[in-house]
């Protein structure tokens, strides 16, 4: 086990390659450092490798070459039985929410605690706490199909927060939402970031990235083509001021 010093980045990729069994090269020589409490946009066209990068971080996929460290832990050496504990440190939301349609809002959030054997005593206060963070008090007994898209994404965010994750990964979280609702979700992610959680958001949403002026990592053809603090969706040279 590697000790995590204050200086060590929370997420560290070094010369990471990912080639799928069918020969598709998804990532080539990706080196990236993300310190604690950073807020990073991951941008790039479809198929550029954004989703692959996200999948590598929760080790849904293994890198073909290079090393990935999350919280000091080398993911290529992580044993399968330790994988669930990595996942509990990382909150994840997706474009399609991945809520269970036959469970209520409360049950959907509680599900994440139940299946990770959280003590049942602490279940109710914890679920209520995260639901109030995302502003869904009073909707506990609603089912997902009774909610708007934005509300569903809030449920997904609440579910991702129940384990007090150190890292929050959002893969196109606003992809299915209208602009106003998208901004609400972004506000929520900023709030989560302000509470000390590192946030990484893969997105196509140019407007949000440009307005936010946060760190931007751009991927194209499986390579990092740009990494700047307070960046925009496109490279500065292409932008007309």
């Amino acid at each position: 086990m590697v000790a995590v010093s204050e200086a060590a980045p929370q997420i560290h990729l070094e010369h990471v390659e990912k080639t799928y069994p069918n020969g598709t090269i998804a990532l080539r020589d990706v080196t990236l450092e993300i310190p604690k409490q950073d807020f990073v946009f991951l941008v790039g066209p479809s198929g550029a490798g954004k989703s692959t990068l996200v999948r590598l971080l929760i080790r849904e996929e293994k890198a073909t070459a290079g090393t990935i460290r999350v919280e000091g832990q080398d993911l290529s050496r992580l044993k399968r039985r330790h994988l669930p504990y990595l996942r509990r440190k990382i909150g994840m939301v997706f474009q399609d929410f991945k809520l269970l349609p036959n469970l209520t809002v409360f049950q959907n959030v509680a599900f994440a605690l139940r299946v990770t054997e959280g003590a049942l005593r602490h279940l109710k206060p914890k679920v209520e706490e995260v639901l109030s963070i995302v502003g869904l008090e009073g909707k506990e007994t609603k089912f997902p199909d009774q909610l708007s898209g934005g509300e569903q994404q809030r449920v997904a965010i609440a579910r991702a927060l129940v384990h007090d994750p150190r890292i929050f990964l959002a893969d196109e979280p606003t992809g299915n939402l209208d602009p106003a609702t998208s901004w609400e979700i972004i506000q929520l992610l900023l709030q989560i970031n302000a509470r000390g959680t590192t946030v990484m958001m893969a997105t196509h949403n140019r407007e949000i990235v440009d307005v936010m002026r946060r760190r931007v990592v751009a991927i194209e053809g499986g390579q990092i083509v740009r990494d700047e603090d307070a960046g925009g969706y496109h490279a500065p040279a292409l932008e007309s001021h």
Binding site: F111, A112, E117, H163
Partner: protein
């Protein structure tokens, strides 16, 4: 304690939901388990009965009953007895009168005494029960006594060569045929339980995806399906156990009334062993089937 309870509660409630969500497939797998265990239980009991018969026939093997004609006077019978006793091959001869024969007959299990009373006269012959030193001499003695005018002609003796060999052969054939059948059915039932579990996994794929995403362990994901397989095994076994448990005694009694001279007996101690074996085998089928069902799926 809370964690363990949560784990058990989650596994059982999910398993129960799975069972009813694909009820048709679940019922099919219960039925096949039931058939396997019914075959297993029946085979064990049939083989046991054949064993009982062989054991009893073996004790009778060195003796034959020579039936005397009703016209034979007692003095002639006693002379004949003396003649047989002087034979060096014979160790013992016992005279059994018609009345004694009837008294024995009345003691046969599952025979209604009132039926015998309606006969009026006693149809049973008196006999000389001859015990020999060496079983191989039985055939020669049987031949000799048949020629005596004192001896009844229909039948002359109860000598049945090779009866034990025939029963042992029957037991062996029944055992092998039953074993082949049970092995085949076992394979089939494990396969069907596996399909049931795969169906349940397919129906729960969204839940499983979320469970893995939020950090559930592999075993937490697997347990509900293993429990579902165990439920299938236990339910199938329970039905089979009830049928065999309550059916064995009536079956023995019915067979006793049909096969009066075959010594079948109800053996409750052996029945308990058979029922326990059935239950264990049912659990085994369920757990192996569901383990095979979850094994491949949860590997990434």
């Amino acid at each position: 304690m809370h964690r363990l309870w949560n784990r058990i509660d989650f596994a059982f409630s999910s398993a129960w939901q799975n069972f009813w969500r694909n009820a048709a497939v679940s019922v099919a797998s219960v039925l096949i388990v039931w058939v396997v265990l019914l075959a297993l239980g029946s085979l064990l009991l049939v083989l046991h009965s054949l064993d009982q018969i062989v054991a009893l026939e073996k004790t009778k093997a060195s003796a034959i009953s020579v039936y005397l004609a009703d016209t034979t006077p007692l003095t002639s019978a006693m002379d004949f007895k003396l003649h047989l006793e002087n034979d060096p091959r014979v160790t013992n001869v016992t005279y059994v009168s018609k009345d004694q024969a009837m008294a024995r007959f009345r003691q046969l299990p599952a025979l209604d005494p009132s039926v015998i009373d309606t006969l009026g006269t006693n149809p049973l012959p008196a006999s000389l029960d001859v015990t020999v030193r060496d079983i191989r001499d039985l055939a020669a003695i049987d031949q000799e006594v048949r020629s005596s005018p004192l001896v009844d002609k229909s039948p002359a003796t109860n000598y049945e060569p090779n009866v034990i060999d025939k029963i042992i052969l029957l037991a062996r054939v029944a055992g092998i045929a039953g074993l082949v059948l049970i092995i085949g059915l076992t394979g089939l039932s494990v396969f069907i339980i596996m399909l049931t579990i795969r169906t349940a996994i397919y129906l729960r794929r969204k839940e499983i995806e979320v469970m893995k995403l939020v950090g559930a362990t592999d075993w937490f994901v697997r347990w509900p399906f293993i429990v579902e397989g165990l439920i299938v095994g236990v339910v199938g076994a329970a039905v089979a156990v009830l049928i065999v448990g309550f059916g064995y005694r009536p079956a023995v009694i019915n067979l006793q009334s049909v096969l009066i001279f075959i010594p079948l007996a109800f053996d409750p101690a052996y029945l308990r062993v058979v029922l326990a074996a059935m239950l264990v085998f049912g659990l085994l089928l369920g757990s192996v089937g569901s383990y095979l069902g979850v094994r491949r799926f949860l590997k990434q």
